[in-house]
């Protein structure tokens, strides 16, 4: 049941577009030879997915650290709820709010009134990045939060008792011990981002295009299921390569420690 859709997509990718769209059986490599026409979409995805993951990480880590180690119980509950609550409504609705915030009457107008220029934000890669960070932050915060929460606080005390300054304690104790959460969060966000289409469609205005958007177009507009399937197969292959490389890199970096569980 899990692989059946993938098999269908694989078979379709060697077919042809029907006269009115859809799919007719055939055996051709034309769809794969045509992949170059979607290079820009692949490039955008392969740039913005890692950058988005990194941006999520840079914001999520301090937040998770504060939640797990610094915050008092009452604050902790409140902040955790604040992180979760946006998840209760659809990303579609929340993206509409960002369309307004990043549109000409939102942040740019505010910056303008402060004399800081009137930059174009909406329908730019920056807007898409903001949407990505906003939408995926909880997925990054929670794995890191859990790994920091489980961290034995006595280790931190021991480190400081032995005369280690806080910054070095963080770098030598806290950070390595939370790497499992970081690796899981990054993997989760990166994989989902590679298939993202809603955020670029809403905040990119058709100008910041992901592979996911190319797929939506091929299936829902130009109705070329065969070529769409070939693009999907290519995306799966790209993911396979990048994810494998990522797992190898983290494993080597972790020096074979078994507390870095990836999936």
């Amino acid at each position: 049941m899990l692989v059946l859709p993938l098999v269908v997509v694989f078979v379709f990718s060697f077919g042809e577009r029907g006269p009115a769209g859809g799919y007719v059986p055939a055996f051709t490599f034309d769809n794969f030879l045509n992949l170059g026409t979607r290079w820009a979409a692949f490039k955008n995805t392969l740039v913005l997915a890692p950058v988005g993951t990194l941006a999520c990480l840079l914001i999520a880590y301090p937040l998770a650290y504060f939640l797990a180690i610094r915050a008092g119980d009452r604050w902790k509950t409140l902040l955790l709820i604040l992180v979760i609550v946006p998840f209760w409504t659809s990303i579609l609705i929340r993206s509409y709010a960002w369309i307004f915030l990043l549109g000409g009457q939102g942040l740019p107008a505010l910056l303008d009134s402060l004399g800081l220029g009137n930059p174009r934000l909406i329908n730019t890669p920056f807007a898409v990045l903001v949407g990505i960070v906003y939408g995926y932050l909880p997925l990054m915060v929670f794995p890191i939060y859990v790994s920091l929460e489980r961290l034995d606080k006595r280790l931190l005390e021991a480190s400081s008792d032995l005369g280690c300054p806080p910054a070095r304690t963080f770098l030598n104790v806290t950070l390595p011990l939370s790497m499992a959460g970081v690796a899981t969060g990054c993997m989760l966000v990166f994989i989902l981002l590679m298939g993202e289409f809603l955020i670029p469609a809403m905040l990119g205005g058709g100008k910041v295009f992901f592979v996911g958007n190319a797929l939506v177009d091929l299936f829902l507009q130009s109705r070329n299921w065969a070529f769409g399937s070939a693009v999907a197969v290519a995306l799966v292959l790209v993911m396979l390569v990048t994810v494998t490389a990522y797992m190898r890199a983290t494993r080597r970096w972790a020096g074979g420690r078994d507390d870095v569980s990836l999936m």
């Binding site: 577009r17 006269p19 009115a20 769209g21 859809g22 026409t37 979607r38 820009a40 979409a41 369309i99 549109g103 000409g104 009457q105 174009r120 909406i122 329908n123 205005g205 058709g206 100008k207 295009f209 958007n213 190319a214 177009d217 091929l218 299936f219 829902l220 507009q221 130009s222 109705r223 070329n224």
Partner: protein
């Protein structure tokens, strides 16, 4: 769950009324819990004048699913339809006919009524995706009162598959406050100013027919061309223009209203709505030509609520209802009975009824553009560039 047949105490009724007045419950909830909804329905069917309306007669279920276009229906009409029939209208809007066709081809759309444009209907018939209409169930459809130019594409090989809803043109809306008083008149100016003073401020439709068609007009080609050489010229123009666009989106009113966009490809009714609220936004028909179109009401094969589908189509064709639709959406209709009810300032409106010399170069979309692989792939390449 509240049993609607239960009687409600006076205190409860007042409490519910206050909640409704404060806006904390919907009208539907209010009518439901108080039993007023049921009472209205019963009364409605008992009053002879109302009973005569065919759409209010039988039990048609509690909902009808409509696939249509943005800014195209008066919500008050749907509320009245629900009050009269008990069926809520579940509306979804689309950006292009291609998107509608793709949903129907994939199967399981769940739609009861959809709103196809003239050039698509023959393909829907060929693909066996559209229901032949039983006109005896649409008594409000009076063929004689419709302008045949706009109503005829609904009939294929002598069978009526779709009834005329309204017609319109595809031009562009431009915020003249940003042109320094200069009037734009052509598609050539549209594409040229986009690459100059209006860089970052122009929107085009997410729709192959109009976006490619109006790019073809820049070179003086037919709006419907599928000639590979002419399409290559259009593609070159579109790729050159793309970095200068604000967005590619068929729902352009919000961006025009907020001032983010200064110019957009635009359909008659959107032009009318924008101009009504923001007078400096003007509607322009390109002097080279462009699109003249008519939209239809039709039922897809396998519609889950067939009775409700017929009831909704018949309701929307009731001239008294349709006139309210026109006042809302600002598109002209092909129905003389509706024109008779419209105020003269609407009938003389230059956006809705353009002068003959502007209308004459316009072309109806051609069926071949809907399925032509060259146009479909050009649009997809343009978007992913």
């Amino acid at each position: 769950m509240t049993d609607r047949n239960d009687t409600i105490s006076r205190e409860m009724f007042i409490a519910e009324l206050m909640r409704y007045r404060k806006g904390s419950v919907t009208r539907r909830h209010f009518l439901g819990v108080t039993g007023l909804g049921l009472a209205t329905t019963v009364l409605g069917s008992a009053v002879p004048g109302l009973r005569g309306a065919a759409w209010a007669q039988a039990d048609i279920g509690d909902r009808v699913v409509l696939a249509s276009w943005p800014n195209y229906h008066d919500p008050a009409n749907f509320e009245a339809f629900q009050t009269a029939t008990g069926a809520a209208v579940d509306l979804s809007v689309f950006g292009s006919n291609e998107e509608m066709l793709a949903k129907l081809q994939a199967g399981g759309s769940g739609w009861d009524v959809f709103v196809p444009t003239n050039y698509t209907i023959s393909t829907y018939v060929a693909e066996d995706l559209i229901e032949a209409l039983d006109l005896s169930r649409i008594p409000n459809y009076d063929l004689a009162s419709f302008d045949p130019r706009f109503a005829e594409p609904g009939t294929v090989d002598g069978v009526v598959y779709a009834v005329s809803r309204n017609w319109g043109t595809t031009g562009y809306a431009v915020n003249t406050a940003q042109t320094g008083g200069k009037k734009l008149t052509s598609w050539k100016e549209f594409w040229d100013i986009t690459r100059a003073e209006f860089s970052g401020r122009t929107m085009v439709h997410d729709y192959q027919l109009t976006t490619i068609g109006n790019a073809l007009k820049y070179f003086g080609y037919s709006f419907n061309s599928i000639d590979p050489k002419e399409l290559a010229d259009a593609e070159k123009l579109l790729l050159e223009v793309k970095p200068h666009l604000f967005a590619i989106n068929s729902d352009y009113q919000p961006s025009m209203r907020s001032g983010d966009a200064w110019m957009t490809m635009c359909w008659t009714g959107d032009g009318k709505q924008l101009h009504r609220d923001i007078p400096e936004i003007e509607y322009v028909l390109g002097s080279e030509g462009g699109e003249l179109w008519s939209d239809f009401l039709a039922i897809p094969k396998g519609a889950p609520h067939l009775d409700a589908a017929y009831a909704l189509i018949n309701y929307l064709l009731d001239p008294a209802v349709n006139v309210k639709e026109v006042l809302f959406h600002g598109y002209p209709v092909a129905d003389k009975r509706v024109d008779a009810l419209l105020p003269p300032e609407i009938l003389n409106d230059p956006i809705m009824y353009p002068a003959a010399d502007l209308l004459s170069p316009l072309e109806f979309g051609a069926a071949v553009t809907l399925t032509d692989p060259g146009r479909a792939e050009l649009m997809a390449r343009f978007k992913s560039a």
